[in-house]
């Protein structure tokens, strides 16, 4: 087990190495002068030269790569061309809304999709099963921004149940320390830690994050529900399920303790693979709902051709994907004791 974990961790190194090389070469793969590409169409020769100097683009390619990779190991992702702020600092400032959105979306998706998939498998061939499958196909076919705008139109603009846009942190100022600095904590409603205005806390947070999470989560729900249904249906044909029924166990116990537990490996796998879908969707969702997270930072950086930010964000997103799939792989041994490496 321990050897497997070490082997699996080591296997992520070449993947991240390829990501790093690809991200580094991205600018050089584009036709023309990289400095001119970043500077844009209206830049003066002086601007192009300044960018070339700042990014060290006038040095040999391999020197550029090793310098960049060396800085990367020290946690230095470079400095934004547009705002002149270190990329790591910009990412730090924007990470909370994205983490909150991704976490609530995963919770929402798993809590809805797994019961739906189990129900569809249990009631296989009935209208419940067909409805779940139709929903799964629709979930894959409706783009996130269409779902998002439909929900804003009905639930926010017409029914006034949720705010149209924006983000409110769940962190509030809970008091003042002896040095006068604010003490930050979690509370239902209170003063925001950054702006000093009221309107933050768990209640405003959930009011603002519900629609984005549901909009982003529907495609994920479709994916997980479909796989859950397929794997539970397969497990339901096993002999031990018949034995469990024959012992007189209730359907609920058979479904949850016997079927779902044994069907968990493919479900957890698809949750891991779906993270790429989720991270891509974050970019769109944050744009529609005006959430100041990493997705919005990505769009802003791309529109400004702020290359160091684009590089940093791709690395962070790819790193999260690799890390989550590493955890998924390791979880197999806990979920299914038959799996031994």
């Amino acid at each position: 087990m321990f050897a497997y974990v070490i082997r699996r961790i080591l296997a992520t190194i070449p993947v991240m190495g390829v990501v790093a090389i690809f991200v580094f070469l991205l600018l050089h793969l584009t036709p023309g002068d990289p400095a001119a590409v970043i500077a844009g169409d209206y830049a003066s020769p002086a601007d192009v030269e300044r960018i070339r100097e700042t990014l060290g683009l006038n040095r040999p390619l391999h020197i550029q790569f090793f310098t960049w990779a060396g800085r990367l190991f020290q946690g230095d992702l470079g400095i934004s061309i547009f705002s002149k702020v270190p990329v790591i600092k910009l990412i730090g400032q924007r990470i909370e809304p994205t983490l909150a959105l991704a976490t609530t979306t995963i919770f929402f998706a798993v809590l809805v999709a797994v019961p739906l998939g189990v129900l569809a498998a249990w009631k296989s061939g009935t209208w419940i099963d067909r409805s779940v499958m139709i929903f799964a196909v629709l979930g894959f076919s409706v783009p996130i921004f269409i779902i998002a705008y439909s929900m804003i139109w009905t639930l926010s603009i017409h029914l006034h149940w949720f705010p149209v846009q924006g983000y409110k942190s769940f962190l509030i100022q809970t008091g003042t320390g002896i040095d006068g600095a604010a003490i930050i904590g979690i509370g239902f409603e209170g003063v925001c830690r950054d702006s000093g205005r009221s309107g933050c806390g768990l209640v405003p947070f959930f009011r603002h994050i519900t629609l984005p999470s549901v909009a982003l989560g529907l495609v994920y729900v479709a994916l997980i529900a479909r796989i859950t249904r397929a794997s539970v249906m397969e497990v339901l044909t096993e002999d031990y399920i018949r034995t469990a029924h024959a012992k007189g166990l209730s359907s609920r116990v058979v479904l949850i303790r016997h079927a779902l537990k044994n069907a968990s490996v493919p479900i957890v796998t698809v949750i891991g693979i779906g993270i790429a879908l989720l991270l891509g969707g974050v970019v769109v969702t944050e744009s529609v709902f005006n959430i100041p997270g990493l997705g919005r930072l990505t769009v802003d950086a791309i529109l400004h051709r702020d290359y160091p930010i684009i590089q940093g964000l791709i690395l962070i997103f790819a790193g999260v994907y690799v890390l989550i799939n590493l955890l998924v792989d390791i979880s197999y041994t806990f979920l299914d004791p038959r799996i031994r490496y």
Partner: protein
Amino acid sequence: MDAIADESLIVRGSLGARVWQYCRRNPTIVIGALLLLMMLIIALLASHLTPDPMKLNPIKRLRVPGEGMLFGTDMYGRDVFARTLHGSRISLLVGLSAAAVSTLFGLTIGLMAGYNRLFDTIVMRFMDGIMAIPSILLAIALVSLTGASVGIVIVAISIPEIPRVVRLVRSVVLTIREQPYVEAAISVGARLPKILLRHILPNTLAPLIVQATYVCASAMITEAILSFLGAGTPPDIPSWGNVISEGRQYFQRAPWIIFFPGVFLTITVLAVNILGDGLRDGLDPRIARQMR
């Protein structure tokens, strides 16, 4: 070729009876194909069915659907019906082209990776790396750095899809190459290109066609997202993503600018997905069993 030996595809009788039987046994393929055909006809006849989608008419700006304008007008008085119908051209062009490009490259690389261990080791690490980058992020980065054009958008959307096709083809090749008939072909001295083209390639086609439909659906959504975020096709081209992106600012006042292209995009993607599911059930019963 056991993959296509599905009951549902074996039909007998006259041609008309066979077509009818096939349609009855595979309703999803028929529904998906008909919807897609309808969208293709709309795309081809868009210029004949509607006025100029770029024609400005400020006097008629933000007209409600129905007042002489079937889908209403946008903030510049342009006909949303014309823009929606013309948008189908870009979406279908990008979807079908991305499916073709990624399938062609994926098939070539996958065949080679499945048969050559050294090539496999190097290429699959590279593919794993690309798969770790969210496809939308990779596509918008590529478009923003190379400049927006329909060709660039197709390439940018195809690149993240290639590893998925490579993985699929490689897995089929790894299974097929151990089959007795391939060993027999090797033993009678058949050369590698012949083995790949005559014995292995036909077995990859069924799952590949199914995968191509999913790539097509995903590419259409990605194209719309890229244009929506301002990193897709040039704004002067009325793609669905561009029309929706321009309508964002007026969403509360004129939701129809977003609604109609959104519905058309959804129907098209749904058609391709339904067709893909139908083909999967018909052509590849092994995957169908896993998904059912």
